[in-house]
């Protein structure tokens, strides 16, 4: 295994982030995390079951990178905890919860908490946390998929006034998945009320600056840190990371995207929620002032659902269809109004496919309106599939969703 690969496995955001977060926070003195870590049994940072031996050269680099990652992780974890305290009446939804001790902290504070993550994580963190909080029935760990509305809706049945926090999630989605997640969370907030705080963008854009402040502005080390934490994950995983608007576009473009998805945005200064003491900074006191300065420039985004209209699509967009047919999957992106005049174009493309589609994905992010003629074409496409579960609609705006929901089309198209 080469040196970079060894570094990747130590701080790899794909394979080890969830585990390394609780390890790092425990390592810098968080008592709940230490207690939880004892139960979880992640006793070694990085690949706890690996017999890999780090070379002295790599070990030296790790030694210098480790505190950077610790500051990054602790600051993220603790600022969100402080932020949650500022919303004492909210039901906390931790998306994703990973293996962190947040649920235990929420139990101490007598809060209602839902830790959302994939089943593999929930199966471990749920029972482990229960051993500490003693079966507090306000603490829930739910196996959900953020791209699946039903799974989240089922977990939150009966809850009101949510504070959804997202740290370490959005970089894993493709653009279409991201739109789906935004659409799902908008539905959740419409139903349950509350807001959604997104942390990921702030740390992504300031990652290098934080590292630079902590690494005495050593350009070589900063470059190494950046390569390890960002590129490494994508290189070894089966999905492309940081491949959506949140990580590829400017703040202004992202804000436009968020507004289009039907949200209002409020900026929250990260420094306002940074604890006075961070255990991770004790080992590098000379860097503290500089790092705190960086945090003063960082903002989390708090999203609330727009009162009326939801995701707004420019009604004057001309009709356009982009489509692709690969490996039996018909992918189509529709722009503008799909009505009596325009819907036949989509139907024509669908009927001209060289063979029957096995899967269909319809992206309607820029669809301004769907008339009954458009609904008819969507229904025809849906009914053509042998396996109906292979029909997917993404980027559904509030306007379109209302039509689908009241007509009943949502019951199988969404």
């Amino acid at each position: 295994m080469d040196n970079i690969q060894q570094l990747r496995e130590i701080v790899n955001p794909v394979f080890n982030t969830a585990k390394s977060c609780v390890q790092l926070v425990a390592g810098v003195g968080d008592e709940d995390s230490r207690q939880l870590l004892g139960i979880l049994g992640f006793d070694r940072i990085g690949n706890e079951k690996s017999d890999n031996v780090v070379s002295p050269e790599i070990a030296e680099k790790v030694k210098r990178l480790f505190p950077v990652y610790a500051v990054y992780t602790e600051a993220r974890f603790q600022t969100v905890n402080k932020l949650i305290e500022a919303y004492p009446d909210r039901v906390v939804v931790d998306l994703p919860c990973g293996y962190t001790a947040r649920g235990i902290k929420m139990s101490h504070q007598r809060r209602t908490y839902h830790g959302f993550d994939l089943p593999a994580v929930i199966d471990i963190i749920g029972p482990a946390a229960a051993k500490i909080h003693g079966g507090d029935n306000h603490i829930h760990y739910d196996a959900v998929d953020a791209t699946n509305y039903e799974s989240m809706a089922a977990a939150l049945e009966g809850e009101r006034n949510l504070l959804i926090t997202t740290e370490g999630l959005l970089m894993y989605f493709t653009q279409q998945e991201l739109e789906e997640v935004f659409s799902n969370i908008r539905r959740i907030l419409q139903k349950h009320g509350g807001s959604w705080v997104i942390v990921d963008r702030a740390f992504y854009t300031h990652d290098k600056t934080i590292a630079s402040a902590l690494l005495d502005h050593d350009a070589e080390m900063v470059a190494l840190y950046t390569a390890v934490t960002k590129k490494a994950a994508g290189a070894v995983a089966d999905v492309k990371f940081y491949d959506n608007v949140f990580f590829k576009n400017t703040d202004e473009e992202i804000i436009t995207f968020i507004e289009k998805m039907g949200f209002n945005i409020r900026e929250i200064c990260v420094a306002d929620y940074l604890p006075d003491q961070l255990g991770s900074l004790k080992v590098m006191p000379q860097a503290e002032a500089g790092v705190r300065e960086v945090f003063r420039d960082m903002n989390y985004w708090e999203l609330t659902v727009k009162e009326k209209g939801g995701a707004k699509v420019d009604k004057d967009l001309p009709f356009a269809v982009e489509s692709d047919f690969t490996d039996g999957k018909f992918t189509v992106r529709i722009q503008g109004r799909m009505d009596t005049i325009t819907a036949p174009e989509l139907l024509q493309r669908f009927q001209a496919l060289p063979c029957k589609a096995e899967a269909i994905e319809v992206n309607v992010t820029n669809m301004a309106y769907v008339s009954s003629a458009g609904l008819r074409v969507l229904l025809m496409m849906y009914k053509s599939l042998e396996d109906k579960s292979q029909f997917k609609m993404v980027g559904v705006s509030e306007e379109i969703r209302e039509i689908l929901e009241v007509t009943g089309f949502d019951q199988f198209l969404l």
Binding site: V370, A373, L375, L379, K383, I403, V406, G408, F409, F412
Partner: protein, 394 residues
């Protein structure tokens, strides 16, 4: 149910009686009486003449005064009406009979030799598709549940606020071209246009009413499954909901949503499923004693199930007879709804019969106000107490 026509000249009772009797040969299935057989009632030939009365007063079908027929004719001035029990047929089934009646009547009355194409006339062979199993090629028993079935809205808005029953009928005329342009501009259809306007009228009458306005839109399972000839009663309804939470200000969106709701419930597989359910119900009914069965059906027919019903038996033209027909209305009895809207079309005009089971102008005024906002010219052709023939209990 019934069909009423206003002709360009006063009706000649003698010719009409002659016409009605001549049609017996071509439409024997309407010249019947119901007789008990086991646990069922079956239609048998009724040799007595079908009544043709020069009065608008209603009589009871299946009674001595109607010669025990399940149908009857009446006329007064230029108006002529045919009324028939829904147990025999539906709007789509009765229109060919009316067309044939008018063909024979007007031929004799005017002396014109109208082209016979499109009319079912005495001497023609009655095709199997008209009287036999409407779905001989469909395997109804193996039909599976459709992908979508709407849940019935049980707590719907009632337009009859007092509960008193005093049925009224209003006759309206709207230019076809104007209505169709409005429909094209707003993603509508005649059914949907009327549903939305009626729902808007109900909201206008009672802005504080918070219950869902449930509109039953008639569909014909026979036509859905490819049989347009059969006379048997296969009409049913799909439900369109207008909940309080949904604004009706955006007419296009309201129409899109209404059409979407209709579309999902009116797929061929839904019709197949409905026919299968009807068959199963019929088999269950076959086990019931006759009095229990007729009691249950009578109760079902009289229980309110929706706020409004809308039906459009697509007529559009009586061919060469059109110049002799001034108005055409279909009539349903408001029973399972407080208001019925029956739509017919002839001579480039839509004719709406708005039937309500209460005596008040409030709702019809609100409906006219909504129509006015569309810019469509609407002419009120008349209003009277509803005098449809009833059915004597078996």
């Amino acid at each position: 149910m019934g069909v009423m026509l206003k002709l360009s000249k006063p009706v000649d009772g003698k010719i009409l009686r002659d016409t009605v009797e001549r049609l017996r040969e071509r439409f024997p299935y309407f010249y019947v009486r119901a007789v008990p057989e086991g646990n069922d009632l079956i239609p048998v030939e009724n040799p007595l003449p079908m009544t043709v009365r020069n009065t608008w007063v209603a009589i009871r079908l299946n009674a001595e005064e109607s010669n025990f027929h399940l149908a009857a004719w009446k006329y007064e001035g230029q108006r002529v009406a045919f009324e028939i029990s829904h147990s025999l047929t539906d709007g789509a089934g009765v229109l060919p009979y009316i067309k044939s009646a008018m063909y024979l009547y007007l031929s004799q009355k005017t002396g014109e030799a109208f082209a016979p194409a499109g009319f079912r006339l005495p001497g023609d062979k009655i095709p199997e598709s008209e009287t036999g199993n409407p779905f001989p090629d469909l395997d109804i028993d193996s039909v599976e549940e459709p992908i979508y079935q709407k849940k019935t809205t049980a707590d719907f808005y009632r337009l009859n606020r007092t509960g008193e029953i005093e049925p009224q009928i209003f006759y309206l005329k709207l230019p076809e071209a104007q209505v169709m342009k409005y429909c094209r501009d707003n993603d509508g259809s005649p059914n949907v246009f009327c549903s939305v306007m009626l729902a808007k009228a109900a909201r206008r009458c009672d802005p504080e009413g918070d219950k869902t306005i449930s509109v039953a839109v008639a569909i014909d399972h026979k036509a859905m499954l490819g049989n347009h000839d059969n006379y048997r009663m296969f009409a049913n309804v799909v439900e369109v909901d207008f909940p309080k939470s949904r604004s009706l200000e955006d007419v296009m969106k309201a129409c899109t949503i209404a059409r979407g709701q209709i579309m999902l419930q009116a797929q061929p597989e839904n019709s197949m499923w409905a026919v299968k359910q009807r068959k199963a119900l019929s088999e269950r009914f076959a086990q019931m004693p006759l009095d229990m069965k007729t009691g249950a059906m009578s109760k079902m027919a009289g229980s309110p199930r929706w706020s409004i019903s809308v039906s459009y038996a697509n007529s559009r033209s009586f061919g060469p007879l059109d110049p002799y027909i001034e108005e055409l209305y279909l009539m349903g009895e408001p029973g399972v709804t407080d208001v019925c809207c029956e739509i017919a079309c002839i001579n480039q005009n839509f004719f709406l019969a708005i039937l309500q089971n209460f005596n008040s102008y409030t709702f019809i005024d609100a409906f006219l106000e909504e129509l006015k906002l569309t810019g469509i010219d609407c002419e009120v052709m008349g209003r009277e107490a509803l005098k449809l023939c009833g059915l004597k209990a078996f």
